[in-house]
Amino acid sequence: MAEQAYTADEMMTIAAARMVRNGAALFVGIGLPSAAANLARLTHAPDVVLIYESGTIGTKPKVLPLSIGDGELAETADAVVSVPEMFAYWLQGGRIDLGFLGAAQIDRFANINTTVIGDYHKPSTRLPGAGGAPEIAASCKEVLITLRQNKRAFVNTLDFVTSAGHLDGGDSRAKLRFPGKGPVAVITDLGILTPDPVSRELTLTSVHPGVTADAVVAATGWALKVAPTLTTTAPPTDQELAVLRDLQARTARAHAGQA
């Protein structure tokens, strides 16, 4: 198949989208996860059930939502429920197969920080905060995380643990009786990291085309483990790129003025 030029962000979104199983019930965070989830729905996973914390279940937006509760999400949903019901019956109730999160900081056990950089009371950067993330990370059967990889984001120690991944690794998550299995993959603009089956430490298992393992290690704030059998991510297909770019163009037009 003919390859064409693409950006690292496009590769990240496409690689993340490929992780979405058709037919899965997917709890979607705003931003990168929302783009990847909708790309999956528009390509190989037409039957994925997209769920946003605003209470929209089985939504099929034509453009990416700017907010988690855009009208488009309600108008195209199979069901719209209240926010307390969404968190109690649907998320906490254990109905969600896959949670899809972004993050500002992540550590080697895929714990994430979306609260503050620096001290909580006098932060150098105040981030938006938890939103639905702590319970998405705890209650979904599996969790995907997607963010750009660099040493400011991939840190040895989080300034604040907003949402638990594999905690201190090993069986520390199981010990706390989390309902869900936790993060199964972290998809970045450089490659794909997956937790070691035993230690639960994130390990580089795939690099995107043209990216070296050394480059990924250099972009990581801890001594990143690299899988002995490192694979290279398949490059975006023409169809994946076309659908993604079309979606983003539609979205930009829709959000330019009064939606």
Binding site: I30, G31, E53, S54, G55, T56, P65, L66, S67, I68, G69, D70, G71, L73, A74, E75, V80, S82, V83, P84, M86, F87, A88, L91, Q92, N111, T115, Y120, K122, P123, R126, L127, P128, G129, A130, G131, G132, A133, P134, E135, A138, S139, F160, V161, T162, S163, A164, L167, R173, L176, R177, F178, P179, A254, H255, A256, G257, Q258, A259
Partner: protein, 271 residues
């Protein structure tokens, strides 16, 4: 509404009661404890205008845009007044609102597992299940003095109908001692489908007819979200001077929401 009140202006990205928020600024209310899952631009305006002493929230960004600069300036630099924050996750706040509506002193959830939030928010406690011994989170009920929401329709008796993303609005109204609802439209009959989200007149203190009162958020079936405003707000709110000029001109300098919206049409206005 009085200085020092515990106030909830709810609406989960949809039906955010901006008109009511502006009126609070015009009346110069002070020392309010503001509760809202997503402070959004509406609380950025109230905080920047010096109305708030404390904020209870669970996600404090400008959706799809970035930071709420007035919120950050108040938390980080005490401007214009110090702002105490009590920070939760969405699940905890939704549970706390439901507990308030349910007349319970606290709400129960499997939440905050492994998160640092309970270290910084002492209102989050943990209890043991009397049946299984499981550790579960307990959050105190939210019981505002006043809840304010915006809805699509009211009938002449004051029964209110809302649809689409309804967030925690019903819970906020039922949890509050007093409640105010602004609506897009007043009709003879709601013609609500069975099982629609209807708040009967006897649980509402006051209904005000304010067409467009959720701008720049949206009212499903009436108008869309003004994403351009949300993006422009980033520039308006970034500096104290531009924010103050904007609030003085468009909110303090106008007598009602209709005049506010006309003022945005003027040359050079942030729209």
């Amino acid at each position: 509404m009085h200085d020092g009140d515990f106030v909830a202006l709810e609406g989960f990205t949809h039906l955010i009661p901006f008109a009511a928020g502006h009126e609070i600024i015009r009346q110069g209310r002070r020392d309010l404890t503001l509760v809202r899952m997503t402070p959004d631009v509406i609380y950025d305006q109230l905080i920047g205008a010096g109305c708030a002493r404390k904020l209870i929230f669970s996600w404090g960004g400008n959706p799809g845009v970035g930071s709420l600069h007035r919120l950050r300036d108040a938390v980080e630099k005490d401007w214009p007044v110090p702002l105490e924050i009590e920070e939760h996750a969405h699940a905890g706040m939704a549970t706390a609102y439901a507990a308030g509506a349910s007349g319970l002193p606290f709400g129960l959830l499997r939440g905050y597992l492994g998160s640092d939030l309970p270290k910084y928010n002492s209102t989050i406690k943990f209890i043991d299940c009397p049946f299984t011994g499981e550790k579960l989170a307990a959050v105190p009920a939210i019981r505002p003095d006043v809840a304010v929401i915006h809805a699509q329709k009211a009938d002449r008796q004051g029964n209110v109908l809302l649809w689409g993303v309804t967030g925690v609005q019903k819970e906020a109204v039922l949890a509050a001692k007093r409640s105010i609802v602004t609506v897009e439209e007043v009709v003879d009959h709601l013609d609500a489908p069975t099982n629609a989200v209807v708040l009967p007149t006897w649980v509402i203190s006051a209904v005000c007819h304010v067409p467009g009162g959720a701008f720049p958020s949206y009212a499903l079936g009436y108008y869309g979200r003004n994403n351009a405003f949300y993006k422009k707000w980033d520039g308006v709110a970034r500096e104290r001077e531009t924010f103050t000029a904007w609030i003085d001109r468009h909110v303090r300098g106008t007598s009602d929401f209709a005049e506010f919206k006309r003022s945005l049409e003027e040359k050079g206005a942030a729209q």
